[in-house]
């Protein structure tokens, strides 16, 4: 069995601490469950959602696919700033703040 891991090769955005992530999550304007989804669907959905948000609004994508934490922020980098929260058990929340 290989020891290769996505965690070692993905450039994560800045990480949020648990409390900040929870606060942001509760106040999020839209949450997308992308569990089990891979490229390019999460990027496409993030872009679509961004079109309907206003400056300062927050979109959260929940994912279990580490590469999405790099690819989704990259896909909407002109529209949103990204931060990520790691649960510690393989789930991630990508927080995208509309510019």
């Amino acid at each position: 069995m290989s020891n290769a891991s996505w965690d070692d090769v993905v450039d994560l955005p800045d990480e949020l601490d648990d409390d900040t992530a929870e606060q942001l999550y509760e106040g999020a304007d839209e949450v997308q469950d992308m569990t089990g989804e891979v490229c390019p669907y999460p990027q496409v959905e993030a872009k679509k959602a961004m079109q309907g948000l206003e400056a300062g609004d927050v979109l959260v994508q929940e994912t279990d696919h580490v590469p999405s934490t790099e690819n989704v922020p990259k896909a909407v980098s002109e529209l949103a700033d990204a931060k990520v929260w790691k649960s510690g058990d393989g789930r991630y929340r990508i927080f995208l703040s509309r510019k």
């Binding site: 290989s2 290769a4 390019p40």
Partner: protein
């Protein structure tokens, strides 16, 4: 850092027997049409299956839009059985591929 190669370069490389094309899309998409000679290792399976292959001197990773292939190329390049410099990512992914495709039965496919 992963180098990116254009679809044009990849198409030219197909005449070279040494190139390994790794398609990380889902099997359904692969079956509908893929770069001739490509092997299919879905992205989600790549970490567990990376040691199943003998990685050569010229590996190109292809994905739908050329983003996840960058991380997949990093992953393969970080594996002890591969050379980091030997692994590249196809710029623009299948969205940018304008050349012939091969289907699951080895026949050509007109387009995706």
């Amino acid at each position: 850092m992963v180098d990116e190669v254009t679809p044009e370069d990849v198409n030219r490389k197909l005449d070279d027997d040494d190139v390994q094309i790794v398609d990380i899309r889902q099997p359904e998409a692969f079956a509908q049409g893929h770069i001739p000679g490509a092997i299919n290792i879905p992205m989600t399976e790549l970490p567990a299956r990376i040691d199943e292959y003998d990685w050569g001197d010229d590996v190109v990773v292809a994905c739908p839009i050329g983003q996840s292939s960058i991380q997949a190329a990093r992953l393969i390049g970080s594996f002890e059985g591969a050379e980091a410099d030997a692994v590249t990512s196809m710029q623009g992914g299948y969205e940018a591929w304008e050349y012939d495709l091969e289907t699951a039965d080895g026949e050509g496919a007109a387009e995706l």
